[in-house]
Symmetry: C2
Subunit: 201 residues, 2 copies
Amino acid sequence: MQGYPKPISGLIDELRKLPGIGPKTAQRLAFHLVVSGKPSINRLIYSLGEVRDTIGYCSVCGNLTDVDPCAICQDPKRDPSAICVVGYPKDVLAIERVGGYRGMFHVLQGYIEPLKGIGPEDIRVKELIARIKDKRQEVKEVILATNPDIDGETTALYLARTIKPLNIKVTRLARGLPFGADLDYADEVTLARALEGRREI
Amino acid sequence: MQGYPKPISGLIDELRKLPGIGPKTAQRLAFHLVVSGKPSINRLIYSLGEVRDTIGYCSVCGNLTDVDPCAICQDPKRDPSAICVVGYPKDVLAIERVGGYRGMFHVLQGYIEPLKGIGPEDIRVKELIARIKDKRQEVKEVILATNPDIDGETTALYLARTIKPLNIKVTRLARGLPFGADLDYADEVTLARALEGRREI
């Protein structure tokens, strides 16, 4: 049997390493790229090279950036007294997309996951505490915007316990029913949280 | 609002051009690549460059190849008297994977699609006829292995009408129930074809 020419099977192997890309998808992508011609392969190579050469982590907040400190940390119009703590760089964009939040960010680059042996020292907790203790920043509020799942909750609980003794206001994103949800289909935990957090109108 | 750094959004835009990759998947892939580090980005860039620089179409059969003529067309152990006609390069591998077929291939690089204005002159029909008429090859059988759908059938019908007058045996892949199928769930066309093509056992 004749397989694919080696360069094509090499590309398929590389594409298969990407998350959510199985053998059939990798094959489809590779053929698409081969057939799409040199200019579009060149554009992809150029983009990959640019990301490789310019993107790093912001030394202040830990977000991905092409300048250091990142555009948010450098922005004089943002309020340095509030720090929103998230797990990953993509969460920063999710909150920025909403608009309205004018404070700073801190990207943990992971969550505390005891079962995987990931402790507070393995994510960017030390850097967060240093930022809070830095008197020049006058941090007044830390908003814990970790994911509403086990790892996110564990991490938020740990951070709340560590930061509260520093006399800083610690808040957490509200939990409840998502917009457009159907009571009948809501899971028990979500419904219990929504009841717990009920407000007078 | 702060978006992604420009190199990252550039990479996301490039990834979105790939088939079946939406905005969320492109974002996930881009972040995976950014975080995976320089060596793995370099491996992907290298694979893309290799495909760009070495892969072309075989001048004989039209398959994708890194040598011309391709490995199948060059193989002296293959039988030049049979040509299996397929729509796309990936179909060659599908048939090679089965094993057992020892003849040559011809890749049309498309199907006749009247509704899209794709006629016989837009796919590699002319090249196929030239190969059949070439006395040195002594082609005895043309196996039409186009897809069992509207475009594949249209193309097969056209090719059969064009090739038969040349006194060449023209065959078509058998149609019927796929292995493991359930009669009850088979569509009418498949079942009708299976009845039509019934064989004595």
